[in-house]
Structure formats: C-alpha cells, structure tokens
C-alpha cells in the first residue's frame, strides 16, 4: 500500500500546510513524495519519541501533519508521546504504520505490530483506519486529513483474488454473500478469504464483512450487517491483532451493551508474541490459525 500512500500524499502536497515526517524509513517508496514536498518532507531520524512530540507541536500550529514509520516503531516506542502530546491535546496528527500485524513476518518479533490499534484505541479521540485493499488508501488518506482527531493508519498489503474488483471504500463492506455463518474480518486479511469463500456452495458460504475503521463506537455496523447477524446461528471474527483490545472485544461489547444477541462466537486472532519459530506473514498466520484453511475449519465447526 506504500505506492498508493505515496500517490495519495503527493496529491495533497500542493497544500503548503502539509508536512510529512518519517522516522528514517521509506526507502524505494517515498522518494517521489520527498521530491514533491521539498523541505516539508522531514526526516526525523532514528528518534521516534522526538518525532511524535515534534509532530504534535506542528499540528498545534495547524499544519496537516503526517508521521510515517513501520508499524511497530510508530506506536510502541513513543507511546507516551502519542498519549501525552497528541492525544491529550486532541491534535490531528496522522500516524502511518506500514506493515501492521505480521506484515514484516520473518523480520522477527520486534517488527510485528499485533497490538497496535488496540493500544491506540485505549486513548481518547483516536481514529484508526485499516484499509482492506490497495485501492482504499486514497480514500483513507482523504478521510484522515479531514478528521479533527488523531488518526492511525495501519497499512498492509491488499490481498484479493486475481480479477477481483474491490468496492469503493467504506468502513464496512460485504465481500461475499451466502447463507452460511457471519464472518467479520479487519483489514487486508479479509481479502485473503474471498476466493475460498466464493468456492463454497451458497448454503455454506459465509456473509463476509470487511471492517476498515475503528473504534466500533464511532463507526457502528450498518443495518444490513445487524440484520444478517440477527438471523445468523454463528459468528466468526478474525483479525491480525491480539485478542486483548482487539476488534472482536469491541464488537461484542457493542452488541451486548445494546441488548443485541451474540450468536455462537469464534474468534481468530494473533498469538501474543509466543513463537518457537519465525517465518513469513503467511507462516505466522498459520501459527495463529488465521490462514485460509484454519478459517474454513473454524466456520465448518
């Protein structure tokens, strides 16, 4: 999604109030943005805490401020700066974390961001975007720029079958239709299930919904989803994020606090940094039972 990010930001670069700060990352991705922005493209160096505080100070002066790093470096090291300097003051800094979830797979556990949005959504006023498809990025950038709150963009890699045409961006989108269970998935992981679900007979095919904006409280599920849910006998929620603070917890709390019935629930989520071996994003999804065969097994039960 970095190419789409770069294009979307370049499209905004004519705005003299726009600033972009990178934590010394973006090789072979952000060069065209740097060229377009000139001195308003700032390399903050290997100093994430400073980068966040500087961004907060610039946002306070009404600059449209974007901060970029790989996802684990974006929120974990500088969490206190995000909390105190950005969130406490409700400053509209846009944090961009590339490679959310297991995006940096075999690079090792320090490079995994599997608690990112859960952590950030404990803070007041935060909005999180998890684009599902590459084509969502432009819309998400526009939305984040308009939002008066701090935002976190968790970028990954669009995953959908060859020839698939994504629907225009929306916080909630139904990707497959059937008479099987309800399946709700956060971000690009949703796209990875499309082909397998489409191959199922209609009676067993899940109603697959992709979620791209959090928290649920400010992005409530659409009526159509709730209608399907009311008729469903089971619900499966999958996310490349640990269970604690994740979407499944948010969503079920949302339903329960409104007196809505929660069907039989299965959750698939990232294991909490507990591994004996490391590997690619695909390997780590398998380890966490987030891969396609594991999903098919989960919904068959």
């Amino acid at each position: 999604m970095r190419t789409q990010l770069c294009d979307a930001l370049i499209a905004r670069a004519a705005n003299p109030d726009m600033l972009f700060i990178t934590g010394d990352l973006g090789f072979m991705a952000l060069e065209t943005l740097q060229e377009a922005m000139g001195p308003r493209f700032i390399n903050g160096g290997v100093a994430e805490q400073n980068m966040i505080s500087v961004a907060a100070a610039l946002a306070r002066q009404k600059f449209e401020t974007w901060v970029y790093s790989i996802a684990p470096f974006c929120y974990a090291r500088p969490f206190e700066q995000i909390r105190n300097d950005i969130s406490f003051h409700k400053l509209p800094v846009n944090l961009i974390g590339n490679g959310g979830g297991y995006g940096y797979g075999v690079m090792g556990p320090t490079h995994h961001a599997i608690e990112d949005y859960g952590v950030l959504l404990t803070l007041p006023n935060f909005a999180v975007f998890v684009p599902v498809f590459d084509e969502d990025v432009a819309a998400v950038v526009t939305l984040a720029a308009k939002t008066e709150n701090p935002c976190y963009l968790r970028l990954g890699r669009g995953e959908y079958p060859k020839g698939y045409k994504p629907q225009p961006y929306a916080p909630w989108r139904q990707l497959t239709i059937g008479s099987g269970p309800m399946v709700l998935v956060v971000g690009p992981l949703a796209g990875s299930y499309i082909e397998a679900f489409e191959a199922l007979p209609a009676l067993r095919r899940p109603n697959l919904w992709a979620v791209a904006q959090l928290p649920v409280e400010t992005n409530p599920p659409p009526f159509e989803l709730l209608t399907q849910l009311a008729a469903a006998s089971c619900l499966c929620i999958a996310e490349e994020h640990v269970a604690q603070g994740g979407f499944a917890a948010q969503f079920t709390l949302y339903l329960a606090s409104r007196g809505m019935t929660i069907p039989k629930l299965t959750t698939l989520c990232a294991r909490s940094h507990i591994y004996e071996r490391y590997g690619s994003q695909h390997f780590l999804r398998e380890q966490s039972k987030l891969d396609v065969p594991s999903m098919l097994t989960a919904i068959a039960q």
């Binding site: 160096g45 610039l58 406490f88």
Partner: protein, 262 residues
C-alpha cells in the same frame, strides 16, 4: 504574553515567592524546592522577554506552581484560580494541564517531552515565517531521559535559532544528587560537541539571566541556570526532601520571614 514594560524589581521576585509558598501551603502539597529554584528565571522570561507571538513550554512540569504564580503576577491567572491549586475541580493541577489555560500550550509532567515539543514549535514558527521564539524551561534530571537527547539532536540539526532552553540545574533529583545518580555534573560539559550556544549563569541573579537571554545566538541556545533547590528558604535550600514535603504552619511563617529579609 508580556504585560510589563519595566524590568522586574527585587520586590516583584519577593511577592512572587511569597505567593508561591502561600499557594503550596494552602494546598498542602510539595514540589516546593524545584519551584523555588526555577521561579526567578521564569519570571524574567515571562515578564521581560516573551512577546505575544512567542511560546513558553515548561518541560519540568513539577514546577507548575512557579508557572501558575508567574502567570498570576502577569494577571493571566487570578487569586481565585490560585486558591484552587490542587483542589477538586481545579484547572491548576499539580502539573500543567492540557486544556483551559491559554498560556500553557502542552500538558507536561512526564519528563523528557518538553525539548522536543519546543523544537517542533520552533520549527513550525520558522516554516510559517513567524518571528516567534520558543522558551523551554527544563530540569537537570530530565537530561537522563533519552528523548531529551533526541530533541537536542533535532534542534541542532535544524539549527533552530529561535529556541532558547533554560535548564534549572539545581543538582538534586528524586532520590539523590544528579551527580550521585547519573554522573552528569556539570551538565553543560555534556553538551560539548553539539552545535549549541551554551551559557552558564547564576539562576537566581536576574541580571545574569538577562545577559544570557540578550545574547544573540545563531544556533539553539541552552542556558544553564545554576540554582538552589528551595532557594530563599534556608531550611529548604539544597535539601532533597523539599522535592516532596509540604509546609507546616510554623515552617510557612518562617519561610515568609526569610523571604522578606532577603
């Protein structure tokens, strides 16, 4: 923010010190020592150097009492505001709040944030083409925070000439002297090699502080204020426990007498 057109008199410093002590005494709270070490420089900066377009950031948020008192001397906070210090429903929390006091741009209190906030603000002024300057008052202990050095690197790399940092170098921190905890004294020697202008002055001598502030620097300016924790009150001076203790009635009366005799 500046509202006075004349240099502060000795009486102004005395009035501020007494009001600071009264506020802390009535609230029954500590952090008095570090407030008394920082208040002289804060008064000089806020009264005599700050222009409307400038920004003041108190990185050592535990000296909020000195900041509130300085704002009171400027008429920016009222007596009523100060009587609410530390009380339920107050704007005047123990550390500077995030909202509600226009002269306070950022909530501080977690050490090691202020220099980066100040550097970002100074860069923003430059990008806006503003003449605004940023003044940042720090503690000496917070130079043990890695983020402070990140901020220094950023400020020097971007050659933020509109940034003035004042370090309240009172040599005491939470559980001992800065020397015994981190072997950093004298702190200004640790800045050798950074592209900064460094001054070392008596932090309780307004004239010396003015000389340093008047110096035109073509790079970020760091002024080390050699101060005494608890300055002006003999039983508090250079005693670590006055980072924490509150005043008894007897101690409060004695402190006022000493400040009057100063």
């Amino acid at each position: 923010m500046r509202t006075f057109d004349r240099p502060l008199s000795a009486q102004d410093f005395t009035i501020a010190r007494k009001r600071l002590l009264r506020m802390h005494y009535e609230a029954g709270v500590g952090h008095i020592g570090g407030n008394l070490s920082a208040i002289d420089a804060m008064l000089v900066v806020l009264h005599e150097y700050m222009q409307p377009e400038d920004l003041f950031i108190l990185s050592k948020g535990h000296s909020a009492g000195a900041l509130y008192t300085a704002l009171w001397t400027l008429g920016r906070l009222s007596d009523e505001d100060l009587t609410m210090f530390h009380k339920d429903g107050t704007l005047l929390a123990g550390h500077p709040p995030a909202f509600g006091i226009p002269d306070i741009p950022f909530a501080t209190g977690s050490l090691g944030h202020g220099l980066s906030l100040a550097a970002g603000s100074a860069l923003g002024f430059r990008l806006r083409g503003s003449d605004g300057r940023v003044f940042c008052v720090m503690s000496d202990g917070e130079w043990q925070e890695g983020s402070t050095w990140e901020g220094l690197i950023f400020a020097t790399h971007h050659r933020l000439t509109n940034l003035t940092v004042l370090v309240d170098h009172n040599n005491l921190q939470g559980l001992g002297s800065t020397e015994s905890v981190a072997s950093m004294s004298p702190l200004w020697k640790k800045l050798v090699g950074f592209d900064v202008e460094v001054d070392v002055v008596d932090g309780h001598d307004p004239a010396a502080i003015r000389v340093a502030l008047d110096r035109v620097a073509n790079r970020p300016h760091v002024i080390f204020l050699q101060t005494k924790k608890g300055s002006g009150v003999s039983f508090m001076e250079e005693r670590m426990e006055w980072h924490y203790l509150s005043l008894s009635r007897e101690q409060y009366d004695l402190a006022l007498q000493e400040i009057d005799r100063r």
